[in-house]
Amino acid sequence: MLFSSLDFIIFFVIVIGAISLFKFRKFQHILIIISSFYFLFYTDNFLVTLLILTILLHFYTGREIYKSKDPKIRKIFLIIGVLGSLSLLGFFKYYDFAITEFNILGNLLNLENQIPLLNLALPIGISFYTFQSLSYIIDIYRGHLTPTKSLKEYAFFVAFFPTLVAGPILRASQFLPQLKEKIEQAKSSGRLRLFIIQNSALKFGISLMVIGFFKKMVFADNVAPLVNNIFSNPIGMESFAIILGSIAFGIQVYCDFSGYSDIAIGAAAILGFKIPLNFNKPFFATSPSDFWSRWHISLSSWVRDYLYFPLAWKHRRSSVIIFSSLLFSMLLMGLWHGASWNFLIWGGLHGIFLAVFTVIRKKYSKPVEPFFKSKIGKFFSIFVTQYLVFFSFIAFVVQDLDHMWYAMKKYVILDFTTSQTIEIINENEFAILLIILFVILHYVSYRLGNLPEKISKLKLRYWVLFLIFIILPISLFYVGSAQEFIYFQF
């Protein structure tokens, strides 16, 4: 069920309506859990059983990890939980990729038999809810979290429909306490709370959802044709066309994914849940590590806390260990995005950028610090960072390795010809205008800070004008059918 479809609007209105009308605690919790399963069932049919399996696996292994005093038993249950869900993820997501590569290797070695592919459908959201569940049992193992006693509560956390299929990846330590009723300011009771839709949350949630729809349906969907125009077959494209394409794709994927996150966070806010930001003006990042503290924050922090730190923490004084841990973590992050070499390359590139930056900063930060604190220095660091980020987007969008190599060469070694680029611009005027508009709006929102919060605090008459101002272009520039979100394929 796509967020930008009538189906979701109908579904969401029914859920909100039912919660508002029937103020019975147990009914509300069961309703949201069933709605969440229905939400996934609607798109994925019987594959909803994988979600149920994941929930049961991690709930019970989490409980056993907490109960057991023996470190060996605790480790065994942790391994069961981790391997269990990673096996499911690995099977559905990577089996066909592994077999394809194995068959290619077999051809090179003149092996006669080929292993047949299963052509498995990728279950929607599996990458997200698997990581969400893994963080639960790992936090219990580390002693950072007390497991919930209620399966209902745990199911609510994992299956929560606004974040189920494309994040943000929730942490149990942030989300589970929100499920409990607050009796006094600091304490929470053991009971799951009654949901009451607050006015401020409603206004904020609607504002954020509308902004999310605007990003997705006006920017992302209308810039996509320009990206396809350039990258469907980039061979023969001029350098400036490639650069234009990578900028367009960066804006498309940002608007697509941050738009989705906004809708998810807004929907959760209406239901009374605070979900952390998933994007924070990444195109103003001043370094690769700053970029990853602003882009897909829930995933990058997950990788940092559950992959990078365990690998690098003990030997953090060693540049080699840091370098290789960063590279390995980012390679896996790339692979998480898809079973394909281009995603591995994309992750690898970011790993190299991060690693080189980290090592350089460690060794040379003091002499150059005053420069980078100045305005020119900040502008320079933003420019260099974004140059590298948009370069890496080529690996994200171009699957064919020959095409990718060609595009990357053209990005770095400029040919200074413009005739084809001008033709592309003329054929895609609207997309170009949107790119310019995006740059302006993005800068304005960067200067203004938390724009959705400010908008939700407007007086009602100005708030209505804002809604009309945003909903009108959504309806006028709607491409005609709900377009899938890019991150659904992960």
Partner: protein, 313 residues
Amino acid sequence: MNYRIIFLFLLAIGVTSIILLFSMDLYIHIYDPDWYGILNLNQKTDDEKKRIFIIGGSTLHSINAVYLNEKLSESEINFEVYNLADAADRPTQRLKSIENIIDNKPEIVFYGLGYTNFEKFKAKEFDPLPTFLYNPNKLIRNNFELLLDEPLNYIFPVSPKERTLLSLKYILRGADEHYHPFIKFKEGQIIDLEQIEKIEDSRYIDALEVSKNDKEVLALNSIIKKLQENNIEVVLFSFPYSRIMLDNTEINEIENFEKMLKNKQKQFNVNLFFLHDKYSNLNIWIDRVHIANNPKTIIFTEDILEKIIEVID
């Protein structure tokens, strides 16, 4: 929950819906061949030539008006042809903008019609509960269509973006292509009929509604009448279909359609010619219903040219 916030949100949606519905056909209501846009206010058109408008649906997009005008010019015929074909056009839709057509003072209007313009609409019946579980969108849509007795596509625009951009560009700098103001006459590929058959689902036309009280037929009558009242000559023709479409339509339904047009010919004393099966077996198509915009498909334009010269003479 504050119902005021909900009310204001719904109000915002209501206001934008009204603006959307009014703006979708804006370009066709304000169209003027002499308009070159706010950015080109000094540009003028050739006022001396008389005008011929070709109106109808997207199936007429491939009539190359530039080619027609070149040929008319070579023969020193003092007429200019404008292809005003508009996507999803049908008589009830075209009637809404007929005053604009009349205001632009054409001498002759060639109106292309297809039997699909008169397809009998029947909202599908679904079993409610399973549909609601698997596809609530379809259930809502079907119930709306049953209520309105019309496909939702007729009321709500399929691709608002295209129409919005058309209007905006037209206001700022006039038609992208002077003789094809509503569509981009871009060269397209011809796809083999066998290939089209493989990649596209067959579309069966169950029944047509061409009785004299049908709203599309009544709209057609009104269009012809209004044009004739303003001394505009009307030429009706049936637009081409591929064999894939014709093979999936009952012959007697096509005959009813032909009969209806012949009745109009007699009733209003208009010229009429049929092209619906003329090119059905030729490989000049891009899909089941559209001839490709391609130099190799010029046969359609040339036949129109022949008819234009015949009518002028």
